[in-house]
Symmetry: C2
Subunit: 446 residues, 2 copies
């Protein structure tokens, strides 16, 4: 039996060992950077003594700064949502953003950031820790979606944007969008959340857990300290293969690949053989040296922990307040805090009922979620896709339900029968785009 796929991995491993330097440094250009030079305390008590946030924008900010739209990305997204003069490559939402398009740059000043924790220009585990002069790696503090959003609002402050016309996001971007609307409600005019959730489901947690375990099992991972050596390219490739399965859908693959094989006249093989297998192989091959493994771990864990319930939010706020107090009382801690060790010092609060105890009931969970979004009274669009297995429509319905039960009278809920699964938001310009455009531009009575 031949194993060309193993040969290929071993060959890349040799090349990386021999090469001039590891290639995890992404060539990404054309973004702007906002540098926040004040300390930033994270929800779990970790500290960044400063951070950068990479962002790109399209369209023009109007004189009263009221036409800004913030687009939040999914797990591995960069700020490059659309092409522009400084980077003419197509962005990940290229066909959704532009003059006259769903997010109309003739009308709006459209922004997109790379989240903190990411690896496309924002401060993340691959960044140098000013306290040590070395890369953070896995000393980077644990992040929450709330932390990512709070960092984005520092950027908005810097730009003098008090209130967004709209907050728009899909997948993890939808978590950020909901978080912005619920926790910074006075600064968000309209809310759009697509294929996201109000709290991560154990099934999605399981899928992301499997990806992280595969990545961490790569001997090159070295507990995150791989920056001076070969990155865990095999683990990253395998993690992406699993992820890709969850991003698309069976019906699409049935239509697109069926049971066709790559080379029908050769004997079956354990390496990529069916067309669906070569597709997965190709998708993951592209990704394995393009995204930083530690960013994947931190950002995916933040997704798992996302829960908009009031009790969870209060608990995180309390932890953060305690950490801030301890830091104020003892400025010397800032060095160790930057190493994430403050996490260990903060005596975390006992778990809330919601999602954490055997005693909770469905009614208690729902009640906690409703209270968590009690301030999100913006006109809202929730969009779900029936073929999405990672963020199933049940979770989309839950977002709409809790907003309505909290008293939001302007919640629109659409379910699409698109076949592209979770990735529909990247592909279905006609249906997703029209829903966005309608919601952004429709005049909505208070």
């Amino acid at each position: 039996m031949e194993f060309p796929c193993i040969d290929k991995i071993e060959s890349r491993q040799r090349d990386l060992l021999a090469g001039p330097e590891p290639t995890y440094e992404k060539v990404v250009t054309g973004y702007s950077v906002y540098s926040h030079t004040e300390p930033f305390v994270c929800d779990h008590g970790g500290l960044l003594s400063r951070f950068d946030i990479a962002y790109e924008s399209w369209g023009t900010l109007n004189s009263d700064k009221s036409n800004a739209i913030l687009i939040h990305t999914g797990l591995s997204g960069s700020s490059h949502a659309h092409s522009h003069a400084k980077n003419t490559n197509p962005g990940w939402w290229e066909k959704f953003i532009g003059p006259g398009l769903a997010i109309d740059t003739n009308k709006y000043f459209v922004m997109c950031t790379n989240v903190i924790g990411g690896c496309y220009g924002s401060t993340g585990p691959g960044s140098v820790d000013p306290a040590t002069g070395k890369r953070y790696a896995t000393t980077f503090p644990l992040l929450t979606v709330n932390d990512m959003v709070r960092a984005q609002f520092h950027l908005l402050d810097h730009l003098g944007i008090q209130k967004l016309h709209a907050s728009v996001g899909s997948s993890m971007g939808g978590m950020q969008s909901l978080c912005a609307a619920a926790l910074h409600s006075e600064r968000v005019g309209r809310l759009i959340t697509i294929s996201a959730c109000a709290r991560s489901h154990p099934y999605s947690i399981a899928l992301r857990f499997a990806q992280r375990q595969v990545l961490m099992a790569d001997p090159n991972f070295n507990r995150g300290f791989y920056y001076d050596s070969v990155p865990p390219h095999i683990g990253m490739k395998l993690a992406r293969e699993i992820a890709t399965v969850t991003y698309r859908s069976g019906p699409e693959w049935e239509l697109r690949f069926g049971r066709r094989r790559r080379a029908p006249d050769t004997p079956p093989a354990l390496c990529p053989d069916f067309l669906i297998e070569t597709y997965l192989d190709h998708q993951s091959e592209r990704f394995c040296l393009q995204y930083d493994a530690n960013s994947l771990l931190y950002v995916s864990k933040a997704m798992d922990m996302f829960d908009i319930s009031e009790s969870v939010t209060q608990r995180l706020e309390l932890q953060r307040s305690k950490a801030i107090s301890e830091l104020s009382a003892n400025p010397d801690m800032q060095g160790s805090a930057a190493n994430g060790t403050v996490c260990m010092h903060v005596n975390e609060q006992p778990q809330s009922k919601t999602g954490q105890s055997d005693l909770e009931t469905d009614a208690e969970i729902m009640d906690d979620l409703v209270k968590g979004v009690k301030n999100a009274m913006q006109p809202t669009l929730v969009l779900g896709v029936q073929s999405d297995i990672l963020f199933p429509v049940k979770q989309q319905k839950e977002i709409a339900d809790i907003l309505r039960r909290a008293g939001n009278k302007r919640v629109t809920y659409y379910e699409l029968d698109a076949m592209y699964g979770h990735d529909t938001f990247l592909i279905d310009v006609a249906n997703v785009g029209a829903a966005i455009k309608g919601h952004l531009e429709n005049s909505i009575e208070p």
Copy 2:
């Protein structure tokens, strides 16, 4: 950040390196063995110069040998479906088999085998190749589900059982069961297929591909030649983690684990943290030294290739005939054939239309499937589970549809709303058991 899960893997690796011998030899007892001493040519042209098949049985074969039921296992199943004097451990279908139970041992002589390619007593990649005196490893010939069934019928010949009262199987066992009914129709009285399919779906192929890639990426895998060293326990563990996600369902986990954490008062962690993660970790930990990695590769690949279409069956038959002719003409080839190299010599036929060409239509695929089961006129029970994502109900309906369109007037199709996903057949004794009992015992008019 601490990585106790990585510490644990590294510790096991050290133990395995230091230990007296690798532990992939399973301690399995109490089964009988049928040794087939004639050459066995596989569908893809490979040859086994002999093979063993492990089996267990319960109940008594009646005088005219008409009361035998053959139970086919899923991917990792042993012949130990039920406890007995020689092995009192509970079997994998313990509560389904026994006096008065769904498969009534007061009435039937019930048998279960370990498939060829497996690692629980039947000949598989871990067996010694008589031609070389060494373990086959990945020189083992490629197998099909049809090969597994053909081997089982050699066992039935040996026992003098001409015709089964019923062929019963779930998951890959359902593939075998359908294959037996369609390709050896005169020997199968009734057919039961549960959570199986008539042809593997690209989505299931993708999921199994990801598992195989993860396993083969383990440095210990060594292209399958790990029997004299440390087995790829990390890859096996990771593969099982992915598999377990596909065996159960989101609704069950929501109910069972929700968002509860293992140690709610500690900071979140990248190693097992949420209860669903500790569950996956535990399930896969048990499996990683219990099942032979090469068996996983061969048996899972056989599942991917399963397609009951007439054109596919004809193609495999043709390949096999050609290989048999070549072997008869040149007995010296048998040595190399046993090494699977005959696969390379057989000039495989061009792909059939079904599932292999861009030109096929849904109607052509269905027509080919209908022709493939044209001899399966047995009373049939097809059972599907709505929460199954690996073998969705659409595929169960397809089995029932093609049998009916082929002219089978006695097809019963049930859909269960059980929440246990694919594994429902192992758990839901009340609903699955009753359906089986009713079908086995009901008098059915011709």
